[in-house]
Amino acid sequence: MDDGELLAAYRLGDETALAELVARCRRPLYGFIMKMCAYHEQEAEDLFQEVWLRALRHLPRFKQGSFLSWLFRIAHNLVIDQARRRKEVLSLNAPLGASGLTLSDQVAADEPAPDQQAAARELGARIRVAVAGLPVNQREVFLLRTEAELPFKEIARIQRTTLNTALGRMHYAVTRLRAVLRTDYDLLTGGTS
């Protein structure tokens, strides 16, 4: 069953259809929200829930097109609102997620402290930090592309901007991440470079 068929079944009262939809969208949507709010797990879980609550409440407004794109449009509004409310500019000294490590700990340090070396060496941790350090607009384009696998035309619609601007943001994000992760290329490309 595709998303449209599951939605139709849910509208007729089939809760298993809703469970299937939520499960299907969980990885990309949660991944996007999680990375947009710098790996704060509780905040990500709350926002994930709020996206679904709004989507289900306003379901009659969803007419056609990709349901996942519609969810990401709602998520975009929520994460941007959240960022405005907190007026949070990611600080180099703000702890990131459960590790408690900061950006300055993990990105800038060529010589990490001994107790942080293991985490810093781990590619996943370095990617997390590098992504969290991107400006919000660039981070969002990058995550809509990587997590949701949306085309740039759709990303531009979600951000209410032009295709060229969305593409430019992605280019800046990738260029910046390549610079930050320059020592990890071998791991990134499976040791081929």
Binding site: L18, R26, K35, L59, R128, T189, S193
Partner: protein, 174 residues
């Protein structure tokens, strides 16, 4: 002359399948001769794949979240409210009344402008034809009706006035 930065944007578009065939062919030729763009393509694709794998969500939805989602009542649609408040017949009647009111407002007498029946009739024709779905056919029909009825109507009016005048004059004379 295109720079590598513009080729790199084309690489990003090619990865989502949004690059036209002509530009994709040009990109292929460029990448074959440019190691920097080739590296950008390999590394950006690897980066996207690797980022996806980082920070996967917990496999199951928290029970409290699931309970809240199951309790959601979708808001009624606009069609629901229109049907509930008015019903289909009343909705059409209300729409027709609104259109009629708008039409009357449009052809209302203007202050300082003498009212001429012909103006009113012409405006009424316009209102009715604009409101009509098949307005071209309706307009032709109305014009024909006016042509047929208007002139004899005016002539009959003059005749009646003449007759009244004659009666009045005759009455005074007698």
């Amino acid at each position: 002359m295109r720079t590598c930065a513009t080729w790199e944007r084309d690489i990003l578009l090619a990865q989502t399948g949004e690059l036209s065939a002509a530009r994709a062919a040009a990109l292929t030729r460029h990448v074959a001769t440019c190691p920097a763009c080739r590296a950008f393509g390999v590394e950006s694709a690897a980066l996207c794949r690797r980022v996806q794998a980082v920070g996967a969500p917990p496999p199951s939805l928290p029970a409290a979240t699931w309970a809240r989602l199951r309790a959601v009542q979708p808001e009624p649609s606009a069609a629901y409210w229109s049907g509930r408040l008015f019903g289909p017949r009343l909705t059409w009647a209300a729409a027709a009344a609104l259109l009629l009111a708008l039409g009357l407002w449009w052809i209302r007498p203007q202050p300082g402008v003498p009212v001429r029946s012909a103006d009113g009739a012409a405006q009424a024709v316009l209102v009715l034809t604009l409101l009509s779905a098949d307005w071209e056919a309706q307009a032709a029909e109305l014009e024909a009706t006016l042509e047929a009825d208007w002139q004899p109507g005016v002539a009959r009016g003059w005749e009646a006035l003449d007759e009244l005048a004659r009666e009045l004059i005759g009455g005074e004379q007698s």
